[in-house]
Subunit: 330 residues, 2 copies
């Protein structure tokens, strides 16, 4: 037997430390099955030195959709609930809203009538509640809301409605040298105030939809004012655009749950070497919600077909996840 | 004397390792003087545990302008040279350029006549040379150019025209737990292909001006096509906007050299606690160039006044830097 040299011993010691860190299961809320197996196999392939599929840490970019992938999105996107609450909070300063649509209907609690005006009505609600403040003011508004607002069905804070298996996956990838990004259709400044605390994803790794801002001096103090003008929609074909703009390299792995993530999957999968795409399928009407092709929120239709055709990983929430939310009784 | 506990010993051991790493001067190309002293003092203040000005690593964001701050910008911005070379390279495919302005003048070597058409002419040159390819094609074009193109005065590769003292500063800040970003008026995709190799700044930490892109399927393969439409100008009042869009938090330290960096300085300085702004002043006509208030490239006029009024750090290149470029004879 050849005597191992010092280098080999150092490498072996390093490996055993790495293994020890995950001697315990890194994904304890995942049932043993095809989805979990495919994740572990992918991570092993790209991280083991000497593996033909090895990828240097700098290129280990993982992108996660947010609504329906990291936290729930039913009965409506949580940012929509924020918007409704903001209209109510701002109403005392806008007596004209008592008669002006879409605000009047919304303040009477008739969401359907408020949205009868289509895209224009939605745009009015969005800008009335998301623009007009400085970036610092908006951060405080979101932080205050997210600290207290409760989900209409579960009565939980929205930040408790995050998926425990996905939190474990985020941690596992980071421990394996990945840089984790959020790539969401939701507002970039709606997510940043809490993404680091809840997901461990710092603001500079959050990509989302945005409105324009303008630099101004107010009483000698510089501020960024949020303008009532769309800047970028980070959804569907916008996701690869947002990824290129913010990250500037192609992800190694992408995680999503709806047709809005399809182009992000395609863009990721088209890179050379091993790539990984995982689609969360909402199949659990008891612990969460069951929906796909016909849903108005988080529709998964064309995406489901392509995910299956191409053999990407599908997570069946009902069978693949031991636990959905941390607050569930075990 | 009280016996130190294990925790104290571990901390002390850690400190001595940290000190040992910089027992050698972390900024060897900087002369001892006010500028160097202010850098070392700032870093000590925000990184020493127990200091009233201590800032956690996650918030140690440092932003660097590129042209004139990290690399030279005379006799014209290097990206302008890239543009001229691209017009020449593309000319065989565009016989109409023989008679069409601004291309005709440029191909005859008359830059001044080419730019007589003002902003419109510049826009035409920019889009003809920066748009129309996929993002992957453009990355290769830039990589090939930067690997071979030579500076007209020094005959050096452009990537050799980087300031050695600033490379040391980038490394020192990163070793001190800072995340370093580039925030440049230059094109984001013009810098990314070489920023990691030359500056140690990965593509996801590069912020710059951009044109729009569009996601498309070409023969079943997804591509991002660069469109002849401005998306964002990351200069002047645009820099704080770009910083918010990409980083989502205010920098702790900002490094620049021209009036185009003034709003970035103001935005940085307006944050709570200790902040640091440093302005490189081009005062060395022998080793580099000497210019400020009257220069067409990298003008420093209003900025110089404000930098002095507010007591921000000014680097006098002639006296503060032992060496400007790594290729200089010592």
């Amino acid at each position: 037997m050849k005597r191992p040299n010092i280098g080999t011993l150092v490498v072996l010691a390093g490996l055993s430390v790495a293994s020890a860190a995950y001697a315990a299961d890194p994904l304890p809320s995942w049932n043993d099955g095809a989805a979990k197996k495919s994740i572990l196999q992918f991570v092993a392939q790209v991280t083991q030195k000497g593996s033909p599929e090895f990828v240097p840490p700098a290129e280990r970019i993982a992108v996660f959709d947010n609504d329906g992938t990291l936290w729930a999105e039913q009965p409506v996107y949580f940012q929509f609930m924020f918007m409704l609450d903001r209209v109510k909070a701002l109403a005392p300063q806008h007596s004209e809203w008592k008669t002006e649509e879409p605000f009047a209907s919304l303040l009477k609690g008739d969401v359907k009538a408020a949205l009868a005006g289509g895209e224009r009505a939605f745009g009015q609600l969005l800008m009335a509640t998301h623009a007009g403040t400085t970036t610092e003011e908006f951060e405080k508004i979101v932080s205050d809301w997210i600290a207290t607002a409760k989900h209409p069905k579960t009565g939980r804070l929205y930040t408790e409605m995050v998926y425990q298996p996905m939190l474990e996956l985020l941690s596992y990838l980071r421990a394996s040298g990945f840089k984790t990004f959020i790539v969401s259709g939701g507002g970039i400044e709606f997510m940043r105030p809490w993404s680091e605390r809840v997901y461990g994803v710092p603001p500079e790794q959050v990509i989302g939809s945005s409105i324009k801002t303008r630099f101004e001096m107010r009483d000698g103090k510089p501020v960024l004012v949020r303008l009532p003008e769309l800047d970028f929609v980070d959804d569907g074909a916008g996701k690869p655009v947002g990824i290129q703009m913010h990250i500037g390299r192609r992800p190694l792995a992408a995680f999503g749950n709806s047709d809005g993530d399809l182009q992000m999957f395609q863009w990721t999968a088209a890179g050379p070497g091993t790539r990984f795409c995982l689609c969360v399928h909402h199949t659990d009407a008891e612990r969460e919600w069951a929906y796909d092709r016909a849903s108005g929120v988080g529709r998964l239709d064309k995406g489901l077909d392509e995910v299956k055709t191409r053999g990407w990983t599908v997570v069946d929430m009902r069978t693949d996840w031991k636990r959905v939310f941390a607050f569930e009784k075990p």
